[in-house]
Amino acid sequence: MTAVTHSEHGAPRDQGGPASTRIVVGYGFWIFLLSDIVMFSAFFAAFAVLSGNTAGGPSGKQLFDLNEVALETGCLLVSSFTCGLASLAAAARYKIKFYAAMAVTGLLGAVFLGLEVHEFVGLVAKGAGPQRSAFLSSFFTVVGCHGLHVTVGLLWLGTMMAQVYAKGFRADILRRMMCFSLFWHALDIIWVALFTVVYLMGMVQ
């Protein structure tokens, strides 16, 4: 930081006219992400209220496999990291590095989804589907909603790679890429809340 902040010396910060499209788009998408997080918080509240109501069925402690959850967590965390590298590569206009980082991000996201589907299928096969108890209904809702977001994110990831391939690093494509990376990082933040509240605290009680 070499430049001095003007706002500290009385000059208004908004003298540069309206903000650039990139800032307006990024800010708008940030507002959307926060509203998405508010929606998730409603599901979390439902889970927290209902997590003890197993209706005589299995509890989280009997169902969850923490090794699988740790693997899912690692996949999503590293994919968030490679997504950051992809946005750096896009900002610097490195095409090959961009494709490579995005491909790794998508691959890790797909592994995460595969593990989650595997877990869901196993639970349903054990008779612990969403109909079994209020606890399992809220579990499948909150974890499934996150999985749905990851699925949409994977579709978006493929679209971004195709758009960069077809149109190059145009300003509008770079804005979309910025929104995508925000989305992907936000999904990882929600997963932090998920593995803590749903899995780890479910194992503790």
Partner: protein, 133 residues
């Protein structure tokens, strides 16, 4: 103060959330930020998984410890991955985040509070069954 013109590319202009501030810093420095973020996040995640299964912490305090670690990790993600900072170019983003956090807190704490209260006042299911007979 003759120079009031603000160049949108300079660090004086507002930043979009998640934007890479590549004003001469270079890709290497940007990547370094992500490496630090990844290391911190992995450390906090490992700590969460470890404390959940260990006897190192007094058992009734484990949920509180897990929540503290999770909030810390969310902070790491916000700063190193989403580039939300306390700088003057980020005021709008931080204010929006603060409002979001307020709503999330009200929703979760309010639901837990009200539902625990209702639960407390409700007739136990076993007595309700015997009353119906």
């Amino acid at each position: 103060m003759s120079e009031t013109q603000i160049d949108p590319q300079s660090s004086d202009a507002d930043l979009a959330p998640g934007d890479e501030a590549l004003d001469g810093a270079g890709v290497a420095q940007g990547a370094w930020g992500y490496v630090i973020g990844l290391a911190l996040a992995l450390g906090l995640t490992a700590a969460s998984f470890y404390f959940a299964g260990s006897k190192l912490i007094w058992a009734p305090a484990i949920p509180a410890a897990l929540i503290a670690l999770a909030i810390g990790q969310m902070g790491v993600h916000l700063v190193f991955f989403l580039h939300i900072t306390t700088g003057p170019d980020n005021t709008n983003n931080v204010l929006a985040l603060a409002f979001g956090v307020l709503i999330v807190f009200l929703l979760i704490a309010g639901s837990l509070w009200i539902m625990a209260n209702l639960d407390h006042n409700m007739v136990p299911m076993s007595r309700m069954m015997s009353m119906q007979r």
